[in-house]
Symmetry: C2
Subunit: 160 residues, 2 copies
């Protein structure tokens, strides 16, 4: 795993993922966004939508992966990169392995729910059939700020 | 986790899950079936379909959970049971936790791809937010026979 520590300009795909996260927040969903890229082109983009879709699996990564597979007409996304604003959870990490995503770039780490550098560390398991390259901390400040803002606002609403 | 060792008559929901697995095999998909039950009634049933749907996330459990949540109009399946013919993988175990499934009954164990009693043991992780009751080995013989038959046939086809 490679972690970005310096503040380079964000790749456009992570900017797009952050825009998706902002769209999620505007709809009352936890602000996480994801974008699938192939050969430098955005194939699919999505944001968290479990509430709106009544679907516990409707995380940003899952929706972006499913849409990309539909667009490309292939259940495997070989050669595709996933940009996501938050460290993927166990479900999404499993889907990333099934989809054969080549590279994962993510923003904020998630010590409570993440499954890349935390919890079950999905891709480090001997039974994991596919290990993408992992780049962490890309857009971490922006992604973390969005999440903190969202939960602070929710707590304030719950308190009133 | 409770494991069934004696051969009791199978619960109707597991019979239905096995029927789904047979339908998957007939379509050239890995034979796994799943059924969601609430208050003794089948809410949703599905079989593995990643090839037909061009969707790497289209495992039987994922499709059954998504359909049940749609039918019930709730992203959480509190009080629902999931019957599945094979030990869930990391992606599906993650989805089961997100959906708050109360009880999971599964058939064959999966040392290579399972995530309940193998691999990352999703529900045993301290970061796992919801732990369903687990009953293993329900319909194990039938589920295992279906899987072995499917892969033996596939190997035979590949060899000719």
């Amino acid at each position: 795993m490679t972690r970005q520590t310096a503040r380079w300009p964000l790749p456009p795909a992570m900017q797009a993922a952050l825009d998706e996260a902002r769209a999620a927040a505007a709809q009352g969903e936890v602000p996480v966004g994801a974008v699938v890229v192939k050969d430098g082109q955005v194939v699919a983009r999505a944001h968290n939508a479990p509430r709106a879709m009544n679907d516990p699996t409707a995380h940003a990564e899952m929706l972006a992966i499913r849409r990309a597979a539909e667009v490309l007409g292939d259940e495997r996304l070989a050669g595709c990169d996933l940009y996501v604003t938050l460290e993927p959870c166990p479900m999404c990490a499993g889907a990333i392995a099934h989809a054969r995503i080549a590279r994962v770039y993510y923003g904020a780490s998630d010590p409570k729910g993440g499954a890349v550098e935390h919890g079950c560390r999905t891709f480090d398991q001997p039974t994991c059939l596919h290990r993408p390259e992992i780049y962490a901390g890309i857009g971490e400040a922006e992604a973390g700020q969005l999440l903190r803002g969202f939960f602070a606002e929710r707590r304030q609403k719950d308190a009133t």
